[in-house]
């Protein structure tokens, strides 16, 4: 009789457990199903929208990586090949030479190459670039804005929450699909213009 009673008790607990378990499996499955409708079927990665960027310099300091995964990408399509480059020279530069005192870049990461009169080409040394966006500001103020900082996806560790996004003053950081991960101004991959 006593055994009967305890059996019943166990059966009741099993029943309650089974019910809860079943409803939770269904619930979790349903939640996953509903949410997966809103998925793009691909991983999302972080990128900064160059058109929103205000060049505050936090990308250089707030990335979890040192140096930052944010580096300059030169959109040659937009470059005017200026002799007097607002991204290369400091506004108060004495002359148009490659002397360090004239350069805006704190790490001398921009190389200035003479092409033909009066055009110069500017190359970025990715290893030196720290993503401070000083040249982006200069180029955007005086030139075409072809120098743009972007999250470089060979370096980015794709944190679940980007630590730069958290401090970005202009909300320029967004999640983008991993198969199209750049938000450059006036340029859209493969060397094509938008």
């Amino acid at each position: 009789m006593a055994a009967d009673k305890s059996n019943k008790k166990i059966a009741r607990r099993d029943f309650i457990n089974n019910t809860f378990r079943f409803s939770l499996v269904v619930g979790l499955g349903g939640l996953g199903g509903i949410l997966s409708k809103n998925t793009l079927g691909t991983e999302m990665v972080w990128q900064l929208d160059a058109s929103k960027c205000v060049q505050c310099g936090r990308c250089a300091t707030d990335c979890v990586l040192t140096p930052s995964a944010v580096k300059l990408i030169h959109v040659y399509d937009m470059c005017g090949y200026c002799d007097l480059c607002g991204g290369y020279f400091r506004p108060e530069a004495k002359n148009r030479s490659t002397a360090a005192e004239n350069q805006l870049c704190p790490t001398s990461a921009i190389e200035r190459v003479f092409i033909e009169e009066p055009f110069f080409e500017y190359h970025i040394d990715k290893d030196l670039c720290i993503g401070c966006a000083k040249c982006m500001k200069g180029c955007g103020s005086f030139g075409n804005g072809s120098l743009q900082i972007q999250v470089n996806h060979d370096l980015c560790v794709n944190c679940n929450e980007c630590s730069i996004a958290r401090v970005c003053p202009s909300d320029a950081y967004v999640r983008v699909p991993a198969n199209d991960p750049y938000l450059l101004k006036g340029f859209k991959g493969d060397g094509k213009k938008i």
Binding site: R21, N38, L40, P118, E121, V157, C159, N179
Partner: protein
């Protein structure tokens, strides 16, 4: 800004190029180049413009690899714990997890943090949640509904690294363990609140081990991780037991598990050898019949506690709601709005990057205040829910303390047991042994 040398000479040459360019390319391009101050030159020397290189992101196939590895290691650990009863197998799986999910994948995305993405995806329909995050969130929970917290045993890289460092386990007083055990619920509530208001992912932000896995972090994060590992030497898995918010969910689902691991492979012989074997205090010891009090008294007290529960929830909710402005200060928009509201003159002087950026954005103060007010009102509702949740947890914890359940054998506490399989080695009972009770 002033420019000390003049642009005139430069512009002369440019102007000739501009005129030529417009004639050559026709008017359809003029709108495109209207934005460009200096159009791209056409080189006479035949110079070819270099390509703009944009490094690719990780191949999408690797995302599926992560999911396959997760499901495979979950299944393998479950099999090792439940069928093989092998502690050494679990240990090697945890080394694998440290290597793959930890150092190779650098700790992102993990199941613990994924709960914030899930909350954000529920609240914000514009957020596209990756399929891998959904799998990382649901798979360990579904496994725990059937087999207990085998995810914690050796799949979670955060748990694995602490388990690896556990060399001299010290038993904690059970009251201290119960008190500290409430913190994960608070952490869970706060992380959901901040994820739902799109403010911050606090679990990721204060993840103590991510810096170690990336071998790259600020000094503070390294110090935090180091401190946790140092504590792990003596107190088993401090993060898992006293902080992990995902552990709260696993704790609840694991209680319903159909086939949880057992200490003994056959019937318990009450030898007490496993009694102190659990470094996490997750073994429930037998309760003698005389310790179980009069049923009527306990039922009466329990009913009283349950009846006061709505009141406790209400008090919690009211308290939470009255702190909503403090809670909302974490949000950067609210913070900026409150700085400007307190002292509007900051807009006239260049003080901080945020104020500069706000001025550059062209948004008016009134618009910012409206936006911040919306966020604060979200926090008011969130404060009620959060406080109510704390009240519920507090009330139920109290009520639970009064239940003394009659228990004959040493059994793992299904909620708190990490299925690490340490206790199994202490059990002298062999599988298929026939115990003669007579």
């Amino acid at each position: 800004m002033e420019r000390k040398f003049n642009l005139g000479e430069q512009l002369m040459k440019k102007q000739i190029v501009i005129i030529l360019f417009i004639i050559l390319t026709g008017l359809q391009f003029s709108s495109t180049f209207a934005q460009q101050r200096f159009p791209k030159p056409e080189f006479e020397s035949g110079h070819v413009q270099p390509l703009t290189i944009t490094p690719d992101a990780r191949a999408p196939i690797l995302e599926y690899l992560d999911m396959v590895v997760l499901l495979a290691s979950l299944s393998l650990v479950t099999w090792l714990v439940l069928n093989k009863r092998s502690r050494i197998g679990v240990f090697w799986m945890s080394i694998f997890s440290i290597a793959y999910f930890g150092f190779f994948r650098e700790g992102c995305v993990c199941s613990v943090g994924s709960l914030q993405n899930i909350v954000l995806a529920i609240v914000n329909p514009n957020y596209n949640i990756p399929i891998s995050v959904i799998v990382f969130f649901t798979a360990p929970l579904i496994f725990s509904l059937f087999y207990g917290r085998t995810f914690c045993a050796a799949v979670c890289p955060l748990g694995a690294i602490q388990d690896f460092f556990l060399l001299r386990p010290v038993n904690m007083k059970s009251w201290l363990q119960s008190v500290l055990g409430v913190i994960p619920y608070i952490y869970l509530g706060l992380s959901i609140l901040y994820a739902a208001t799109s403010t911050d992912f606090i679990i990721c932000r204060y993840d103590p081990f991510i810096g170690i896995y990336r071998l790259n972090a600020t000094f503070m994060m390294f110090a935090l991780g180091g401190a946790f590992l140092l504590i792990s030497l003596f107190i088993g898995r401090p993060y898992c037991r006293f902080l992990c918010p995902y552990g709260v969910l696993l704790n609840l689902t694991s209680r319903l598990s159909k086939k949880h691991m057992t200490i003994t492979p056959a019937a318990c012989i009450q030898c007490r050898l496993c009694g102190d074997s659990c470094p996490f205090g997750a073994i429930d010891k037998p309760v003698e019949a005389k310790a179980v009090e009069n049923r009527r008294v306990s039922v009466k007290r329990y009913s009283w506690l349950i009846l006061t529960l709505p009141l406790v929830i209400f008090i919690g909710g009211w308290t939470g709601a009255s702190f909503h402005e403090t809670l909302a200060k974490v949000n950067s928009k609210v913070r900026l709005a409150s700085v400007i509201l307190e002292n509007p003159s900051v807009l006239d002087e260049d003080t901080t990057i945020d104020i500069d950026a706000f001025k550059e954005s062209g948004q008016t103060s009134a618009e910012l205040f409206m936006e911040a007010a919306d966020i604060v009102s979200d926090f008011y509702l969130g404060g009620w829910i959060l406080g109510g949740f704390f009240g519920l947890v507090f009330g139920l914890t109290l009520a639970k303390l009064t239940i003394i359940r009659y228990r004959m054998d040493y059994t793992p506490n299904k909620g708190e047991c990490f299925s690490c399989a340490r206790c199994m080695d202490y059990c002298p009972v062999e599988k298929d042994a026939i115990i003669n009770n007579a």
